[in-house]
Symmetry: C2
């Protein structure tokens, strides 16, 4: 299955934008016209927008997409047992084609639920990149860099990181961006973290790293380095505007001050944090007060297990209200901006559709029961699931129309084959 | 729109049940045959079950369905401000037809997401009952009984409760059951609570009451009555096998002992509890250890705002893991039984499809990306939203097939008219 071919020009006719019917035309991957007077022209692919609302695409700021393969394989286990006894042994058997088809499956789910761009950290990143390319999504993709403090291993994994960066760059598509992804401060040596910082600056690459997911990570960092994790990252030169910090459940105010000052982006993952019971909740009110750059991630589908970012947007809002004992915390309009990537320039940096911006947008069913009454943003955050998305467009390509993603059945079949090969598919679930 | 007409007999052919393809035949509202040798007969309405899995319908153990009308109208507000300044003034204008169409809208969403029975407390219960009847769902329906300690008012609301009970009974349909629904111990006098207990026993009616939603309710009860809320309910004779206690966030171990001993059912509502920031989480581990009868509710769509019970099942599991700092808490199979009503005889009392049981079941898309890999129950709880439901059958009637609920567009249009009449529809959301 090759990448969807974009119509040269696309016109969505009569779609609601901020409550008014407009026309929206795209060309060369961008929105070129938008307004009440915009109508289809000869040669346009035309989408009837009546009963639909146009909103920006969603940005999944942290995931491990191919872990769809491990979904429902070993749930309800403590983190260490889940990883050491189930996930790592299975991952040791992973081949590139497993990652490709696991990611394709994830891409179908992301397209169906309105995600247009995702930030990914997983093995065989060139396969993830091919999958995102073929699916039509935007991806920021890297391979976990783990050296466990072993200099020999450090040499190998740094070379592998550069190699995978080159493979992703070889795809030569503006939708697919390589990334450096050191796993965490407790799995990567200080020397390798400094090397990542240098490479990121020299090559202008986004860095993704897990930070302060558990309290133990903070205690260990204090014991080993004498400072808290964000301060340690700053010391090694990795806390900058190119860095995405996944989790940050256990950051304190001094770290948030520093993260805000350096312009790093935090990707919060409420579903995975709750499912793995990491303790506490991301300190959103404190981060918001400092204007910390923020994004929302699902984390991997092995620890969520959904890729429906609207579901996690609701979960984020509810968890913040619950944790702060304040029903007014994390209101819908703030959370909607979080889900669209508007709160970090690394993610999308904006929350509006306008001429001159990339043609990444969704058409949502405003006549669906869930969205038929009340404020649209509140409806999307609190009442809807991703199933209200009718049409997903990325770079002017229509990846889903009328709820149908082409090739879904083949992708499901291939992912099942790969899961069976890995020994993680339950036999009782397979039709004879 | 009149109730869906049941085919005399229905046969689902080749559907997966516990991983094996079977035939499932219904007659007169019950499952009559189920097994590998069961095939369609002449006169059956036949559903091709290939690619689908048969599971029991879900039971929404606590809602105020017609509050769809108030959805997205006043979110992100503290409970008191939300109620006093927004909801109550709008509710003062409610007419029976508002409740009818608001409930019809809710029924579409429940049917689409797999709920086959709901327990409801709202104004104009005869309109709720007609809506459930016409939609084809099962409902346990009552009107909030509130006397605020005023004897004159007590007389009126008791009469109104009996009158609405009679109106619901007049519908003479086994799917629709009247219920007595005293609002809460702080809005109903002890005399009226005792009256409800007597009436419930005499007429064998389910009682629904909000209990211990907030810590303040507990403090006030201790101050006024010298005992905690469950103990007070027991004192007035209302803690029995017919009683459903909504919320119970702030019950202690002594109350759980008593609730278990009396056989009352707790309906937990994780989404609404988090959204309204009532503090704490339902003490599931303690309730489970005592074999307390349990169900899962969405609460009203004005304080959730979804009716997708699978979303709330996930939320329940995640909240329990988070609150207990234990990733193994509330595993998928337990939560799946909770969502199907299997953990209380008042709700469904079972979690299996079998010959001789009511033909209330769902066909879920086991070939959907979300359910294509891994354990089915884990997939339903963690990976899926209600959008994986393809077919909803209640009492042998097909209420949805292929994701289509008949009459949806008319229901949405009527609900919008009623919301506009009530002054709660946002003008920016309405297409011209």
């Amino acid at each position: 299955m090759s990448p969807p071919v974009a119509a040269a020009t696309l016109c969505v006719d009569g779609v609601l934008l901020d409550g008014e019917p407009v026309g929206l035309r795209t060309a060369a991957g961008e929105i070129v016209e938008l307004g009440q007077d915009v109508a289809p022209r000869a040669g346009d692919r035309v989408i009837d927008g009546r009963g639909l609302g146009a909103v920006p695409g969603l940005v999944n700021a942290h995931t491990h997409a191919a872990m769809t393969l491990f979904r429902g394989y070993a749930d309800d286990l403590p983190l260490t047992e889940w990883l050491e006894q189930h996930i790592w042994p299975a991952e040791a058997r992973l081949e590139a084609d497993d990652v490709y088809w696991g990611t394709r499956l994830a891409c179908v789910e992301m397209i169906r639920t309105g995600t247009t761009r995702f930030l990914d950290m997983y093995w065989h990143p060139e396969a993830t990149a091919r999958a995102a390319l073929d699916a039509g999504l935007r991806g920021v993709i890297g391979t976990p860099l783990i050296d466990l403090g072993d200099p020999e291993r450090a040499g190998r994994v740094r070379a592998a990181a550069l190699e995978s960066t080159a493979l992703v760059e070889d795809l030569a598509n503006e939708r697919i961006e390589p990334s450096l992804t050191p796993h965490a401060i407790y799995t990567v040596s200080e020397q390798s973290l400094r090397w990542v910082a240098e490479q990121s600056a020299a090559r202008d690459l986004i860095v993704q790293i897990h930070l302060s997911e558990t309290a133990r990570e903070v205690d260990d960092c204090l014991a080993t380095h004498g400072v808290r994790p964000a301060q340690y990252l700053d010391r090694v030169g990795l806390l900058g505007e190119r860095t995405v910090l996944a989790h940050c459940v256990h950051v304190d105010d001094s770290e948030l001050d520093l993260i805000a000052e350096r312009g790093a982006t935090i990707a919060t993952n409420p579903a995975a944090n709750m499912k793995l019971a990491v303790g506490g909740a991301f300190p959103y009110a404190a981060a918001r007060a400092r204007n910390v750059r923020l994004g929302l991630g699902t984390d991997g589908p092995g620890s969520n297990n959904s890729l429906d970012l609207l579901a996690d947007a609701k979960l984020f809002a509810l968890l913040q209200k619950h944790a702060s004992a304040d029903a007014a915390a994390a209101p819908a309009h703030e959370v909607w901006r979080l889900a669209t990537g508007a709160r970090s320039p690394l993610l999308a940096g904006r929350n509006m559709l306008a001429a001159g911006t990339p043609a990444d947008f969704l058409l949502v069913r405003t006549d669906s029961p869930e969205l038929s009454l009340g404020d649209l943003e509140a409806g999307l955050i609190y009442a809807a699931s991703g199933s209200v998305v009718d049409t997903t467009v990325v770079a002017g390509q229509v990846l889903m129309s009328g709820g149908i993603v082409e090739g879904e059945a083949e992708i499901v079949a291939m992912a099942r084959e790969r899961a069976a090969r890995l020994g993680v598919a339950r036999s009782t679930r397979r039709a004879p």
